[in-house]
Symmetry: C2
DNA sequence: TATTTATAATAGCATTACTATCATAAAAGT
DNA sequence: ACTTTTATGATAGTAATGCTATTATAAATA
């Protein structure tokens, strides 16, 4: 991850490409800081404008509204995680080790201390994704936005990881469901550890990501392994 | 569930108890319909007032804002599921069968066709919870609201189910994390089946709850069973 | 040099998210 | 029967939000 890479999105949730101008990059970098500080509900384009010494109207030329900006940030995050997973796993031939490595990337995405893109702080972005990302698809516009391709990045990562599950056990019948559950839980458990500790066993001390990884690693491999190859039925129930 | 029961909350997210008056009950029943129809973002107290032939100001006497109304609805839902789980499992002595039954209640909560409370449509409420419930704790006020007891109902259910996990295998180290993951996934997978099918293997045809139940049953029991009693370490890694 | 493009500055407007006041009808207390 | 409280409705008002439109100007490009 030392050399400069470029993360590009598969869709256009923006009006003008933020990467192409100074103001656009400032919008991205400061919105990450401001959404993290205020929470998405309290965040407005007016406040963002004030923060970057620009105006509401100027920001509206880049994004139709704050929801589409959040779609951009979350999509960028998933594209970045997908790239990192691909990079970190492509030369691991053992399917079990490969999936294990991928899970490590997923759970440690908030620990990244080697930023690629000068104007994107991945560690703060990670916190936004943990706290706010479910809001990008929990809206009445989800079907229309899905058609526009707004969720292609997370789908691509899900497909990649589901394939890793099948590489390990081609008989497992729910690879996408299992992966989306794990992807979600990786964030959810970190959030619970911090804010709703009764809903988890992960402690918000020292290395919660490590504990979350252990929890999910066991869950993931137990689930995959307990389906017999060439048998689609489990022995439970 | 035939005889009339009463679901009461462990906290006060309301200003005036909605159950105590006609207007209060209308606020609850119509808000369920309206949030389902418009989505939470487009839902306002003004629109609700118009719908029930009352005014914004009158509704504000019951709830400080629409967020607290959502907290009420979601808390009511979890209290109701908790009651149903308790009722449906309390005379099952086999821990495996008991947990299995509990999981069935969790995944079939949207199928309930025997409403207890005249003014609450549990089937529509279920759809609201699936689509909007994550918004109740993904806010900047989560810690303050947690202190006020706003999440006691979901915590109680999580504790109850986690205990069932331990009854089955006292050596399993992450019972709460496992249960909160499954509770979340039960809703998430149903939502994905309908709106983001690439993120799941559950098909939105005929009986998606049944498929979700099968997926989660296998995941849950594989995970619990693969920890050896008196051994805290898994053999994966 | 002409022209396009990007931004800033300002204004404006409908809606949202409330709060406050007052009148009135119903319910409860004495 | 009579006060008094309580619940609702009606109306008004305010600050903030979520935009859109217009114009001026500076910078980049043709």
């Amino acid at each position: 991850m030392a050399t400069s890479i470029h993360i590009s999105l598969d869709h256009k949730c923006y009006l003008r490409e933020p990467e192409s101008t100074e103001l656009g990059k400032k919008i991205i970098s400061e919105s990450i800081r401001l959404i993290n500080a205020l929470g998405f509900e309290q965040f407005t384009f007016k406040k963002l404008g004030a923060e970057i010494g620009s105006t509401e109207a100027s920001i509206y030329r880049y994004f139709e509204n704050k929801h589409k900006l959040l779609v951009y940030l979350v999509s960028w995050y998933w594209a970045w995680v997908d790239y990192t997973v691909m990079f970190q796993t492509h030369n691991i031939s053992d399917p079990r080790k490969r999936l294990c490595r991928a899970l490590e990337v997923l759970t440690k995405a908030g620990q990244d201390d080697d930023p690629n893109i000068a104007y994107i702080d991945e560690r703060i972005l990670y916190r936004i994704v943990v706290a706010e990302s479910s809001k990008v698809y929990h809206t009445k516009e989800v079907d229309a936005e899905n058609k526009e391709g707004y969720f292609l990045e997370i789908k691509r990562l899900c497909r990649r990881l589901a394939q890793m599950v099948l590489d390990l056990n081609p008989a497992y019948p729910y690879p996408h469901a299992l992966i989306s559950t794990v992807m979600d839980a990786a964030h959810q458990q970190m959030y619970f550890a911090k804010h709703l500790p009764s809903l988890t066993d992960i402690k918000d001390t020292q290395h919660p990501e490590e504990e979350t990884k252990d929890f999910l690693k066991h869950l993931l491999f137990s689930t995959i392994d307990s389906i017999q190859y060439k048998s689609k039925q489990s022995n439970h129930g």
